[in-house]
Symmetry: C2
């Protein structure tokens, strides 16, 4: 029948759209992408809200065992895959859509808010963002900085850059594996502080004045939640700000217009060096 | 009390989130941004759906008579402003948020899907989009092509460009004005065909191989609606495709990855010159 890919938005169970809720309630089988469950949307709460059982499908299942999701749809059931944010924000779901259509299954997309749209909440205009980069956790011997040249390109063109921060889920515990056990480490979510430190390190490596200590950046946490936190300041200042629980992301600002700055100021660290250096003369009002 | 800025998403009344619906239903005063009413969301339908009266506020009111919206909130009422898409996608609402906060009014943002996220439905990855451009209706003596250099910058960096197409609402009828009457022309929405033609004209003016006849482009219409239409092909081919009713937008592709192309192919004009020139050798599978 139909495979519904349904965005859950960014907050809790009530951020699903009415259209999405109606679709869920007519599905025979409901999968919840596992990422979701670590992202403060609780499976039990969703089940109560929908009045339907929900199965957790980890990303591995969605990627490599897609048949678990597709086969029932081919056999005449209505199937839903629930995804945090919007279903078209991740490549995983593109792949699933292609496979579903190739097997003759109708796919219905139900959009919702995603982090890539919600970042507009800080006041920076969405049309002024360039390509999005991912910041991976640096390891002892693996400190890739390929994001650097992308941020540089955006910035040279006056554009802001949204940095999505690494999430490690189901990381194998190699020490335990050596002892013959399959153990996973607890999930890790990169915070703004770590991201800012890594960006400053990348600046030291490349030295092209892209993410310097003094550059204007915005840290965002739990966007779309009641307790969301937005703090603007220099990149160095963000290293020591407390953003609280995950999920975090970071913006490196390009050129800012007056209206953008007007809004950003509301989120700026009160004694930010950026404010002192760049905004004091406009503050006379 | 609280000013709620509530995104309605892209489709019909059922695309509001459950959180948004709950907020609307506890508001004393509900404004609907007028843009909305021309965008297939019917005021009467919304009123039925909410069980509450809705007032249409045209963009002029939101921009220059914001007090109509802010004053009641200052006087202790809960006020909602309903916006098609996501409230942080347009600068208008940034300005309203700043003014509200300056007057001590709490602002609550309720996000939803926006065109800038939903374009991912065509298979092009959102993280690979550069800055967004606006294509204005060319007039006899006013044919600005400042979008051209922005598309070029994106493309040189491998990025896709989303082109938002002009909407003319409440355009004064100058002929009638001369006769002393205030008459507005019917609303105009730029279609993909016109946009493609204008881009080709801009290419002729600048000649830097940015939006050539043969470049890969994607036309999108009524994204998020049941009858959405996505067609990929060369820019020249899109000039003569029928996309149906508004709202339209257009993407000029940058570098495409395999997975992106896999998905785009599903939307490609069957005998597209792009397919013949670039994809035939991969088609052997």
């Amino acid at each position: 029948m139909v495979l519904y890919l349904i965005g859950l938005g960014l907050g809790d169970e009530s951020d699903i759209t009415v259209r999405g809720l109606n679709a869920v309630q007519k599905c025979d089988l409901i999968f919840l992408e596992a990422y979701t469950s670590v992202l403060r949307v609780d499976k039990t709460k969703l089940e109560e809200f929908y009045g339907r059982p929900v199965q957790v499908a980890d990303r591995n299942c969605v990627e490599s065992e897609a048949e678990l999701i597709l086969q029932p749809a081919k056999n005449g059931l209505n199937v839903a895959l629930l995804v945090v944010g919007d279903p078209v924000c991740a490549t995983t779901h593109t792949d699933l859509m292609i496979r579903a259509r190739a097997e003759g299954i109708s796919v219905e997309l139900i959009h919702n808010a995603s982090i890539m749209g919600a970042v507009g909440a800080c006041g920076l205009q969405l049309y002024n963002f360039g390509q999005t980069v991912s910041i991976p956790f640096f390891e002892d011997n693996w400190r890739p900085t390929s994001f650097y040249s992308k941020i540089k390109y955006n910035k040279d063109g006056g554009m802001h850059t949204l940095c999505l921060l690494d999430i490690k889920v189901k990381e194998p515990d190699y020490d335990a594996m050596i002892r013959g056990k399959t153990v996973y480490l607890p999930p890790r979510f990169m915070d703004v502080n770590t991201a800012a430190k890594q960006l400053l390190e990348a600046e030291e490596v490349h030295g092209e004045s892209v993410c310097t200590k003094d550059c204007l950046a915005v840290g965002l946490a739990r966007l779309g939640h009641k307790d969301q936190c937005i703090i603007a300041g220099t990149l160095e200042e963000l290293v020591s700000q407390d953003f609280g629980k995950p999920l975090h992301s970071l913006i490196i600002c390009g050129d800012t217009h007056d209206l953008e700055m007007e809004m950003l100021k509301q989120y700026m660290i009160s004694n930010s060096r950026y404010k002192i250096q760049h905004l004091t003369e406009h503050e006379s009002v």
